[in-house]
Amino acid sequence: MVTPPVSTAAAHADASAPAAPDHASTGTYVKVAVILCAVTALEFAVIYIRALTPILIPLLLVLSAGKFTLVVLFYMHLRYDARPLSGLFGGSLAIATGIAVALMTLTGAFLVFGR
């Protein structure tokens, strides 16, 4: 007997249908875009403010991390998706960041007076 074609994933009967899109609304997407642009403008502005020089690097890193997080959570939908996906990406990102920082340390990138 030949039966209609479906993936073997159909064996998982409770999960065989695609989940309905559970994403942010268009309004949220636009708000995120506005925030991303505003933060980018802020990043551009702060480098010209002499008073911020002592905290410039951490400030820029925080602003950049904020933009990064917004895109990942809303545009890449991790906020709405299955937790294991966050683990897949977050774990890899953490290891990559750790190794990058260790690599820079070991190659002298953080030496104030050079090598």
Partner: protein, 807 residues
Amino acid sequence: MSATRDVALFREDAVHAHAPAATGVWSWITTVDHKRIGILYGVTAVAFFLVGGVEALLIRLQLAVPDNALVSAPTYNALFTMHGTTMIFLAVMPLNAALFNYMVPLMIGARDVAFPRLNALSYWILLAGGIFLNSSFLVGAPPDGGWFGYTSLTLRQYSPGLNIDFWLLSLQILGASSLMAAVNFIVTIIDMRAPGMTLMRMPVFAWMTLVVQFLIVLAFPAITVGLIFLMFDRFFGTHFYDVAAGGDLTLWQHLFWIFGHPEVYILILPAFGIVSEVLPTFARKPLFGAPVVVYSGVLIGFFGFGVWAHHMFAAGMGPVADAAFAISTMLIAIPTGVKIFNWLATLWGGSIRFTTALHFAVGLVAMFTIGGLSGIMHASPPVDLQQTDTYFVVAHLHYVLIGGSLFGLLAATFYWWPKMTGRLLDERLGKLAFWTLILGFNLAFFPQHYLGAVGMPRRIYTYAPETGWGTWNFASTVGAVGIGVAVLLVLVNALRSLRAAPTAPADPWDGRTLEWRTSSPPPPHDFDSIPPVYGRDSFWREKHGDRHGRRPPPIPPLVEPHGIHLPAPSYWPVVIAVGLFVAAVGALSHVLLVIAGGVIVLAAAVAFALEHHREPTHEHQIGNLAVDRRKIAMWTFLGSECMFFGTLIATYLAYRGRSVTGPYPHEILNIPVTTLSTFDLLMSSLLMVLALAAVQRGDHRQTRLWLLGTVVFGLIFLGFQAYEFTHFVHEGLTLQQNLFGSSFFVLTGFHGGHVTLGVFWLFTLWVLEMRGRLAPRDAIKVEVAGLYWHFVDIVWIVIFTVVYLIP
């Protein structure tokens, strides 16, 4: 039990009126069956193993007596380079891949891997890379810079021929193959386990396979970046490893060992998984502390990323770095020791059957322990300084990789051969091979501890009689011949078995895991019905009950209302691999061939991607996670990309202040213009999510609009980048000008390459939409492309900050 064919069996090729191709060469070329691909991996790996073995024997024959002139010094360099590279990338890794392919889907109760065509592509690319590497012999330019390829030995100045070019290009090709396979197996294991098989019920071999795939995904990008730098230094005159221009030779060592040490676990953890299956089966006892064995494997994998610099104690990193890596290296001995004690406890009190597979598994425990103990010696920097670059290290690594990986692979061969072939191997011949191997192996490598301790350096092609090294070198050579004899005995055993009639039952060892529940060899669809899972060692429980003999109540077979779906064969994986091969040949001969190869790859990749577009069987690929598998695969790949760009960015930051000549970053970077291009890319991400929302609700007009908008914004970004690059060149900053130019152009250039690929991908989707072939059920394709596009965006967010804004 034997498989029956009275199942509702459906083939895609029936729908497409393709003739089923079950036999003949073409069926093997186009196969996407995980079992056949496993066999292809196995046969290919054995062939390369023999090549690597002959190289090893030549090395040992050359060293058998002092002042020997069997081979010249350059030939000797090529022999040890090709031996190491071949054994690691073309023998042990593919042999492991053969077992992953054949066994893991069976062990987890799946009908195939998540992406069968991608699986075929991984194999064919591996074959292309292997042939390309070994074709270097044909043109008289075999790689000769060691399997570690240390700069500056491998720079054009010191290796002007094609030798190193062959090596670095083939390693890039092999890396692509490994990465594809790793993503595939991660998705398979996470998402395609039979109902009831929770992660902690999964066989330990499947667990170790999963850990290894994560290691590949995260470790290979580091060597990819290192090889890209080497390639740019050799082909385009950049300065990544040019000390005179401010470059750092230890950068290569770091990048290589960030990959190289996890690679040790990539090679050995599958063997640990094999032992964890073989010992319980032949001790007729559950694996002692199975969850702890699993956790130990995971910990070994995790710690594996934090120990790489113990390979560099002699490089002069300083006491703090030495101490940190010494501690982390000693820590990794703990989970390894836990495994060894758990295996011993598994055997303790067991009803042991002394099969050949058990011999090899116990041999692994003993031999690997010796290798592990000498490894702990290397963890101590003062001791390591004495042992570095001596034969002591050669002895250590061979106790780990032969005593560990090879013994494990031979245990697996004798254990799973009946499942793969339907035939048993000769146990007497097998045990003869085991004893020959263990004697030969110890005779070959144990004396090397002594030779190293008395000062015999590695990689010397001969030595003077006055050194007194002759006796033990001769003994070592005799031992190596013994290893060769043992390998021949295994091959003879295998060939004799293949010529005999298939008589192996489905479950010859009274096995514990699901692969023994189907026929030997399994049918194309693996199982007539998805097997029930009663717990860890599910099949054992089904047959024998728990320790009180109580059998679980039978679970009725899972109803698959739509029958069984088997993927159709495809020839596109072979075409893509041929394209890559042509491009690699072109890189060493003529740029037109590079272009031709690139066109073949691109065209075949598009055909590959669209081969099953809109086919109902491919619409919903959803399993354990209730998330489409393509999305899981993309997130896994993006994790790998994090490592790739993380390494590129770290290198840029390490090098940005080291140029010995201008222009310097603050003199040339145009922040206002780059801010505009950043706005542009951020807005493209907004258009991308709007396009996804439109396709999900079936709004074709808006789908076209937003997809095209994203493409246009991507093109504008590329225009900004082209303007910036052109401007910089006019200002005197080129790839070759200084270290800043090298690291800046490579980092932003690779990001631009990713943007270009994303634009092409989105344009393809837009064309599909224009032709009316993008419906709401295809939204996953837009979503996966969107994930890639947003990732390119977040990478740029980081680049914009660390390259342009931070002073």
